[in-house]
């Protein structure tokens, strides 16, 4: 997994509530057997017309946001389907950080497995970052995971919370499975006790 340490990039405003993972990556793109290549279809049905032309006013099609690395979005981002294709598509497009007032649990979890940092902030902070993001390419933000701060374009810093273990995994780009396999003895011991409950 790619490490996440500090990121300075353009923030794109997606001022929509309840952005679901069907919106992020529609089902017709879930037929792939790979993780890569989904960026071109990120937000496909909002981003392109049915005949494949770009929708000019969709945020990621605007010149200022085509290289965006941060997404500032409305409440309950990533709700719905558990498809990890959603963070894969974001990552493949170049988004490494999503900021909202809340995230759906499964999506939130999936982000950390892919080197994407989801940040939960109070409404007032999201509103401020949303307004800043609407100023276009001049409005870059700097996200520093180590110090857990976001530096806005006007210099003000916003602090954010993140689980210590997830933070460590992101900072070091750790492989979860490798970490868990180090606890193989504990899993073995647990499985030995399972003999008491043969139906399991």
């Amino acid at each position: 997994m790619k490490k996440f340490n500090q990121l300075t990039g353009i923030a794109a405003p997606l001022d929509i509530l309840n952005v679901d993972t069907d919106m992020i990556i529609p089902k017709q793109f879930l037929k792939t057997i790979q993780r890569s290549g989904l960026g071109k279809n990120l937000f496909d049905e909002m981003r392109y017309t049915p005949d494949g032309q770009e929708v000019a006013d969709f945020v990621l099609n605007q010149a200022a946001y085509r290289e965006a690395e941060v997404l500032v979005a409305g409440d309950n981002f990533g709700c719905g389907s558990s498809r990890e294709h959603a963070p894969w598509a974001l990552l493949d497009f170049g988004i490494r950080c999503v900021i909202s007032t809340s995230f759906a649990d499964i999506f939130y979890n999936n982000c950390f497995k892919n080197g994407i940092l989801p940040i939960v902030l109070p409404q007032a902070d999201v509103d401020k970052l949303m307004e800043d993001a609407k100023r276009g390419a001049n409005a870059t933000v700097t996200i520093d995971l180590e110090s857990q701060t976001i530096q806005g374009p006007d210099g003000g810093a916003i602090a954010f919370e993140v689980d210590a273990f997830r933070k460590k995994c992101l900072l070091e780009g750790l492989d979860d499975i490798g970490l868990t396999l180090q606890k193989g003895d504990a899993i073995d011991a647990y499985e030995t006790d399972l003999a008491e409950q043969p139906w399991r």
Binding site: L17, I33, E45, S81, A104, F165, I187, R200
Partner: protein, 473 residues
């Protein structure tokens, strides 16, 4: 010391390791695998030279992308090359890693969340995961069941565990006696309408109270299935006699002395009387009307005798904009009575509502009536066994005579990954779980309803209050 909740009990019984930071390693008893969210996980195992730790705890089948039309040509005859490749990839991966695979032509094939319980793979007190958000369905048996992403599918395959932080406890008490026209689907929609699609975020829901106890196991599955639509990864109903009666004798359920021992253990799986919940609400089922969604979020719920809401009356700007966007997408005008909204399609199926009880209820409405000419309606049973049972009961004939299509089992138009999809602008009364933009096909307009309400819409051409239809009946 205060008592523990059902969720706490299952959690504690599965904890392999607890880190100082509160993250736990949780043992996973059952893993359901399907074709869409697993290929990258198997590829990950291959790349790192890892094996599946406990192959016998895995059950795999293809459901999302298989055709629901004639399958006599087998997998090779699937027209869409990508769908075919995904199914073939699952077959190969199961063979390579030694996993049980229910093939497309097996009578047990169906939607994972239908086949799992049907085979007794789902049992009370287990932890169950699947790379599918509707894994919450299995909570109907008092199992801690939730959806996971593909990275976690790989993690479970390799380690039989998951790294988890504990969720909070949220009890939803549903009191009163539900009238006969109120289904588990209406109760689920009422709850989501009440707490919102993010209302359960960070929680495990426990459904309790007389109206929940009165539900059949099928009804409880419908209810728990939609927990994710309230933002909760998992929903639970404490197991009871109905649960044991449903499971006893099923192929993968314990037998003989093991069964007795299991039931004795399962009887301990209920929240203690003095258990403390982080959040608790109470709703009354006795005064619920049949419900229908009007918008593009499952929380956009209204009574069948209500009207399309007016965004101008919403003070909060974000919510008003969201409502305007939804009505624009849905092609609806504020103030229109829901019963005047005409439909083009009807879909009866999905892991929410494709079980035998759902099909019986829809057939009871459809019997002797005809799907109106302007409507195309289809019934997709949840599994091959349900299809067979329905045919033995003559339900297929009722549907076919009324003008419904009778299909092979699968996820079908719930997510429209296969050929079953809405055309742009088509409006559908659907027994599925999500009315998101584009969910059933780009530009398609989905209204979530119970099987009875879907059948009623099919035979009248518009949303119809089944209370009136039943009165006429």
């Amino acid at each position: 010391m205060t008592g523990t909740t059902l969720y706490d009990k299952i959690w504690n019984a599965h904890m392999v390791d607890e880190q100082a930071d509160g993250n736990c390693l949780l043992y996973i008893d059952r893993h359901l695998v399907h074709e869409v969210t697993s290929p990258q996980a198997f590829e990950g195992l291959r790349m790192s030279g890892r094996k599946v730790r406990a192959p016998h705890k895995v059950l795999a089948l293809a459901d999302h992308n298989i055709p629901t039309t004639d399958r006599t040509g087998g997998v090779d005859a699937i027209e869409d090359p990508e769908s075919k490749l995904q199914i073939q990839t699952l077959e190969k991966n199961c063979a390579e890693f030694g996993l049980e695979y229910v093939a497309m032509d097996d009578i047990r094939q169906g939607i994972v969340h239908v086949t799992g319980p049907e085979q007794g793979f789902t049992l009370p007190g287990l932890t169950i995961v699947c790379g599918d958000s509707h894994t919450s369905t299995h909570g109907a048996f008092g199992a801690l069941a939730h959806g996971i992403g593909t990275s976690e599918v790989e993690h479970v395959l390799a380690t039989q565990t998951l790294i988890q932080s504990k969720a909070k406890n949220f009890r939803i008490n549903v009191v009163g006696e539900a009238p006969d026209y109120i289904t588990a689907k209406d109760i689920a929609l009422a709850i989501i309408g009440e707490i919102g699609t993010a209302g359960g975020t960070g929680y495990v829901l426990e459904y309790a109270g007389p109206a929940i106890e009165a539900l059949s196991i099928e009804g409880r599955m419908t209810l728990c299935n939609m927990s994710i639509e309230a933002g909760a990864r998992a929903g639970l109903v404490a197991p009871d006699e109905k649960t044991y009666a449903f499971l006893e004798g099923r192929a993968k359920a314990p037998q003989g002395a093991d069964w007795d021992k299991a039931v004795a253990y399962w009887r301990t799986l209920a929240s203690d009387a003095d258990a403390v919940f982080d959040k608790e609400i109470t709703m009354d089922a006795s005064d619920l009307p049949p419900l229908v969604t009007w918008g593009t979020s499952p929380q956009d719920v209204i009574s069948i005798d209500g009207a399309v809401p007016n965004p101008a009356e919403i003070k909060d700007e974000a919510r008003r904009k969201s409502t305007e966007r939804a009505l624009d997408y849905m092609g609806l005008t504020a103030g229109t009575p829901m019963q005047e909204v005409a439909i083009d399609r009807v879909f009866i199926g999905s892991c929410t509502n494709s079980r035998i009880e759902d099909l019986r209820a829809a057939a009871a409405i459809a019997k002797g009536k005809t799907v109106v000419d302007s409507v195309s309606a289809m019934v997709v049973p949840g599994s091959g066994l349900i299809k067979l049972q329905a045919e033995e009961e003559g339900l297929d004939k009722i549907f076919i005579e009324a003008g419904f299509e009778w299909r092979e089992p699968g996820c079908s138009m719930c997510l429209a990954m296969n050929a079953d999809k809405l055309q742009p602008g088509e409006r559908c009364a659907s027994t599925s779980n999500r009315n998101f933009e584009g969910r059933q096909g780009r530009g398609g307009r989905t209204h979530l309803v119970s099987p009875e309400m879907a059948a009623a819409a099919a035979v009248t051409g518009h949303f119809t209050d089944i209370r009136n239809l039943k009165a006429e009946g």
